[in-house]
Assembly symmetry: D2
Homo-oligomer: 139 residues x 4
């Protein structure tokens, strides 16, 4: 499990005086990139090699509201890796109180710059192995 | 079914040269508000009356990529209404070609300004009836 | 002068219950692209030809606050065009009341895909002439 | 001078493959809030007391382009404080190379929840003094 934390930005709130729900999807991306980075997979380098990893689907369940002034914490798990795709689950908490803010999932594939699906296992076997070893199936 | 259309903004794209996936969640909100408006439910007025309608969950499946220069079209259906909640489904297309870009759902409840769940059926029976009549169950 | 209008989106507001100031900078971009389009300069096509037009500077003065439920109107003027750059001024109004929300300026250059400055006059003389004829010096 | 640093997020880039210019305005806000915080002025608390500090104007000059994978650093100076307003200047750098990305300014006033201008000097004399002592006039 990887942990990602940061302060909430003022511009992330909306007129309901809480964080706009679309920003949780962005936080999940921030957490995913930090999680991959912690596994030694530098997202910017991956793209520099022509390996792109778009989102196939996202899902988010909102449990309580986040406010400006708070720090959020995302607990990210890599739940599945195949040769051509991977999935993650996220639990977002208020860092101070531990209150669950949201939980969600995302799934991703690998494509090249022409948009064709590629196998990470073939292209980057060493990276692929490392990512595979990090998988924690959803309990 | 309600139809919502607009041009894609430059700032909605990312370095993959396509629209960032989080923006589809925002488009779903734009479409939801336009859809409610077409049913005579003005979201700004609703909030002025102290009826707030936060997002409980969202889900989005990305099918193809959107680019700057395109116009997108969202087809929105109200799929379920209860006294305290409602759900919608969305299909997002490239308006020119009809290619499916994404499909998704969102669910919402009604709360008052203190964050307590409220019954739209009780608070605004006339609105509630109108919204109920617009329901189109998912086929 | 070019006129651009649209509804304010919910997610453009912040916890102050008004539109976040950074979004005016985005509205200026939307208006600029619509303004160029009205002059027959399609921004997406320009980029497809390898002509990129980054922002050199922006400035915005906030005069009154915009709220969800309102429609804004941007009046855009092309105030200066040289062979390698151009500037615009913007006045943003509440469309219903005509109240001035903000006014600002932006300036831009032309570069190629390697980031080198290019002359629009040389690369696209016909476009350049058209844009020049549209200049309205600031009064 | 206050220093604020963070990684660039993927969703902050645009199809030009660099950070969209509107995000620098948001970075200036992040830096301003961190700068005030370092002076013992907690923005969330200020708002909880009914003291709101909207933006009167912003200005930004873009010097070079920021990319995903980089860390930016904002050097923020409080350049002027009056009883009812304050101004800041910002210099944004690539943290690794020290290359200047942008420089800008913002000015702000204080209002109450009804939108009326208020004097920080009167409302929060102790805070006001602290902020005054932090002023570094632009050289």
């Amino acid at each position: 499990m990887h942990i990602y934390r940061r302060n909430i930005f003022y511009y992330e709130t909306d007129r309901m005086q809480v964080v706009h729900h679309s920003n949780y999807i962005r936080w999940m991306e921030e957490a995913r990139i930090a999680c991959l980075d912690a596994l030694g997979v530098c997202y910017a380098e991956l793209e520099a090699k022509g390996i792109i990893s778009p989102v196939l689907s996202v899902e988010c369940h909102y449990r309580s509201m986040s406010r400006f002034g708070e720090t959020f914490r995302v607990e990210t798990k890599l739940t599945e890796v195949t040769r051509v795709s991977y999935s993650l689950s996220y639990r977002i908490y208020d860092d101070a109180t531990g209150e669950l803010r949201a939980d969600g999932t995302s799934s991703h594939c690998f494509i090249n710059e022409k948009g064709r699906p590629i196998s990470l296992a073939k292209k980057e076997p060493e990276l692929y192995e490392r990512v595979c070893r990090a998988v924690e199936p959803e309990s």
